[in-house]
């Protein structure tokens, strides 16, 4: 059982973070990226050609993370690979003990810098969850048994949902379908619309879904108004309110104001009902995530383990 799964089962507040994309550099580069996050982060998402831009594969990064003593969440998207290739990646992950898998449909190729590429989408994100579960049951999609050397495939499967993308009322039903397919956790797409996050989480609690599917909202740490505008225009599925960009533009120090916004959003998210943890995204290798966790009153991994499993709640 992965540490993430164990913590989700015990109800301990979990912290996950997105590994910044890398293009090489081996273990040394992974260590550099992890340096500041390590005290707080339970598991790191290795992205799969983030926003349809090619980078080191999530399988390579996930294996590397294990080798440097960090727990990976291997993201897989359906854009670039058919079902055979996805099965191969899942089996490759299982071979090295990469257990946390996050299944996504994926941004379209048009979001990236090679829009001329063929989009695959042989499966969708929900079918990919079911595929991971198929392998756990000891056979491939065809029904062919997994060889004796590959027995005991074990995953902790997660997915993503976007609470602020239309059709708003349907999002919780789609999340329920992901739980039906076998997902255990749901990392929520970053949203700047707090009312929509609330609406989604309240529905998750009311329907009992949050009991089966651990809700983990995402918090993105940006630094400039320019970065906010870029995210708004170039990252599919993010609704950036214009007044937030104006707030940063008119601030004395943009970076401080951006941090303040991230803090407000994170505090709001972690105090909502049914929230099992937070997922942090920061594009710069600095102490941003650690600073934010400290300000939120989230204990370090070590403290959380020593203090038992009570989820910490921030105070102001």
């Amino acid at each position: 059982m992965s540490t993430l799964e164990r913590k989700l089962d015990s109800g301990e507040f979990v912290v996950t973070a997105e590994m910044p994309v890398i293009d090489g550099g081996g273990h040394a580069e992974l260590q550099r990226q992890l340096e500041f996050m390590r005290p707080y982060v339970d598991a790191y998402n290795a992205t799969d050609n983030l926003a349809a831009h090619a980078h080191v594969s999530p399988l390579a990064i996930s294996i590397g993370l294990l080798q440097v003593g960090a727990e990976p969440v291997m993201q897989l998207v359906c854009r670039d690979k058919n079902r055979l290739a996805l099965e191969a990646d899942l089996m490759g992950a299982a071979m090295y003990g990469v257990q946390n898998i996050c299944c996504l449909t994926g941004d379209d190729v048009t979001a990236g810098d090679e829009p001329e590429a063929r989009r695959v989408f042989d499966l969708d994100g929900i079918q990919l969850i079911a595929l991971a579960r198929t392998l756990e049951r000891g056979h491939y999609l065809s029904g062919r048994p997994i060889g004796a050397d590959g027995t005991g495939v074990r995953f902790c499967v997660g997915a993503v949902e976007n609470p602020s993308a239309p059709p708003l009322d349907y999002r919780i039903r789609r999340a329920a379908k992901k739980a039906l397919a076998g997902a255990r956790f749901l990392q929520l797409q970053m949203t700047y619309r707090t009312e929509l996050l609330e609406r989604f989480l309240h529905a998750a609690v009311d329907t009992g879904l949050s009991q089966r599917l651990a809700m983990i909202p995402s918090i993105m740490i940006l630094r400039t108004a320019g970065a906010m505008r870029f995210v708004a225009s170039s990252v599919p599925g993010i609704d950036m309110p214009a007044e937030l960009v104006r707030r940063v533009e008119s601030a004395v120090d943009a970076e401080t104001e951006c941090f303040e916004i991230a803090y407000e959003l994170a505090y709001h998210a972690m105090t909502q009902p049914g929230v099992a943890g937070l997922h942090f995204i920061s594009f710069r290798k600095d102490a941003g995530i650690a600073k934010l966790c400290a300000r939120l009153g989230i204990e370090t991994k070590q403290e959380r383990e020593t203090h038992g499993h009570s989820p910490s709640v921030a105070v102001g």
Partner: protein, 124 residues
């Protein structure tokens, strides 16, 4: 049914369904389950609901000029008196071998309901 007759039926099916639903002849029609909205017209050909990239105005991530196919599917399916809740069912992966064959024939023979042997039975 011989090959020629099957092709004739497929042609007839396309003739009917193309103008109404922009049918893509996947050969395993799920229109009833998706509010009489063809999921194969989604640029990502998603059969289990909208992706997370739907724009705030409800338009498609890939084709900004087009309304998300799944917005239509959800609205229509909730209004339909029949097939209640079918949209929330988990649809299995597409069988790519059935492309351009007649879903009418595949429905009659049960061929459209065949899933890979390893597909988990409890999610169907």
């Amino acid at each position: 049914m011989n090959h020629g007759a099957a092709r004739l039926v497929a042609k007839a099916e396309h003739l009917v369904k193309k103008p109404i639903w922009d049918c893509r002849m996947c050969g395993q029609c799920v229109l009833h389950d998706t509010g009489m909205t063809c999921p194969m017209t989604c640029p990502k050909t998603l059969r289990n609901g909208p992706c997370g990239g739907v724009r705030p105005d409800g338009h498609c991530e890939v084709k900004p000029e087009m309304r998300c196919v799944w917005l239509n599917a959800v609205e229509r399916s909730d209004k339909l008196p029949l097939w209640k809740g079918h949209i929330d069912q988990l649809r299995p992966p597409v069988d790519n071998r059935l492309k351009d064959s007649s879903s009418w024939i595949n429905l009659a023979t049960g061929r459209d309901k065949q899933v890979p042997a390893g597909w988990p039975a409890d999610v169907q």
